[in-house]
Symmetry: C2
Subunit: 308 residues, 2 copies
């Protein structure tokens, strides 16, 4: 899957992933009204609105981008119906040929991580039958518990040719509180980055490892150091756009050959229709607005990387 | 909820929580066969077996203990039907008067943590209606992203009178890889512990804060230091029993008055029927075996704490 993802990034010349993190406030009133008319103002109604919204966005952008990243929390908050919409979204995106990065940020002690890895990237056995319940291609994983919380994910990745992105340096304002603290002269995120590189050696694809890293666009100097520390690690870069990361800051996340990173934007794409810049599309053409926002984002990144 | 939990611990003189982490291998063949007869060897069949198993365990032990801790990964691995069994288990335990600690170990950037907090401890709004999708009383939370990943949980806790347990020092063998690294002369887990105490000051119950901590039974010396650093923090102590933590190591986790900690056992209770010690109950009396294992655990802890 890592080979497929890097190949698709190259073919499309688009190191871009669209975050499918639908808040109800991003969904046009008409879409919500139609869902509520069918299911009422219920969790099922919210889930239906999210699913319809996602489907339109995905149909509009699917040929432009290699991957999507649904944030499971935005679905999980609507309980079982919300999680069913997550699962449906994952399946639909894979049908369309998109690589799906499940932004689930799971991580626990070994036996528990093994259960998450099976349910999201692998298979579970029930009697004589095997099932792949959520079936994402990649998942994001939290490293706080150390190697034995990560290894079950790596094992499943090797078996199923899937991948993970381990949180190294996150994009949020207070990420430095623990991640930047100095240990033997170097910040914690560098120690985590080194471990990610080491875990990744056990699960190498062609150019990059099945074990990737998350490094926020909001911290480009740290991105530069981490790029060097993890030369064969694909870096998933959140924080571009709405969170404040700028295209001119992205170069350090890439290797000299222009590969090695994929940049996420969520709100900036899926809620583009709410921005002044794309307002002329009108609420009901939110798919077209998202498509234009993806075009603009790809342009922005290509020009910042000097590979237009 | 923290006041209710500490009161129930005191009333029962039982600082004990039973982890409802059902693996299919813990469930007697007859229970699985009945579920599979109804739903086939499917995810629905697995979920039904888990639910029946949980119900019997809960009925058997509910008057002995203040709280249960379902580990969501064990349900999530069976997809949507598994998560529906989790939700049903949470609701059933609350009906029985048990405090429910959802072992979900979520944690993300602010807006995403807010969604997890709403879905698990709070409410979501859909049109004019409000829903509490998972409705646990407490949730476990990962601190790697710092204050802005925790604060949305604390806000919901204050509003809903619920609680969280933040991972400070986990029970697994490689927890020290990052958590024990030294920062300005003190290990990371102490810095996290100090933050937990600070976050907790914003959300105080009577004796303890709504913001608790997870500190593994397998590291009693660290437990002693953390107890001092977080005097008004309830400590959730996993790792007793099957993971190797012993009762005589538990004293440091408690305050001098005997309050301040709650000790979890999962496998040791729910799969007691598979242990030689309880084998005489037979597979179908797994509820009674669990009840006896709880009695023995409470005895073991009381005698180690000298409060028999």
């Amino acid at each position: 899957m890592i080979n497929r993802l890097t190949a698709r990034i190259r073919e499309l010349n688009a190191p871009v992933v669209v975050g499918l993190d639908p808040m109800l406030s991003y969904i046009p009133e008409q879409v919500k009204a139609a869902a509520f008319a069918q299911y009422g103002e219920t969790l099922e109604g919210a889930a239906e609105a999210i699913w319809e919204f996602n489907r339109t966005i995905v149909d509009a952008v699917q040929d432009q981008i290699p991957a999507v990243k649904p944030q499971i929390a935005m679905y999980e908050q609507f309980g079982i119906p919300g999680l069913a919409a997550y699962q449906k979204t994952v399946a639909y995106c894979r049908e369309k040929g998109l690589v799906v990065i499940g932004d689930i940020k799971r991580g626990d002690i070994g036996s528990t991580s093994a259960a998450y890895a099976a349910g999201h990237l692998g298979h579970v056995q029930v009697g004589k039958n095997r099932f792949a319940p959520f079936a994402e291609d990649f998942a994001t994983v939290n490293p706080y518990l150390g190697t034995d919380g990560i290894k079950p994910f790596v094992d499943v990745c090797r078996e199923e040719k899937k991948g993970i992105f381990v949180l190294v340096k996150t994009s949020n304002p207070s990420s430095g509180e623990f991640q930047d603290r100095c240990i033997d002269g170097r910040p914690l995120y560098e120690w985590v980055g080194e471990k990610v590189a080491a875990w990744g050696e056990e699960a190498m694809g062609e150019a990059y490892s099945y074990v990737g890293a998350v490094v926020g666009a909001t911290y480009p100097k740290m991105g530069e150091v981490l790029r060097r520390l993890m030369p064969r690690t694909l870096i998933l870069v959140p924080g571009y756009g709405a969170q404040g990361g700028k295209a001119e800051d992205l170069a350090p996340y890439f290797n000299p050959d222009g590969s090695g990173a994929i940049v996420n934007s969520s709100r900036g794409i899926i809620a583009a229709w709410k921005q002044e810049k794309y307002a002329s599309y009108g609420a009901l053409a939110y798919g077209e607005a998202a498509r234009q926002a993806v075009t603009d984002m790809i342009e922005d990144i290509r020009s910042a990387l000097g590979c237009q």
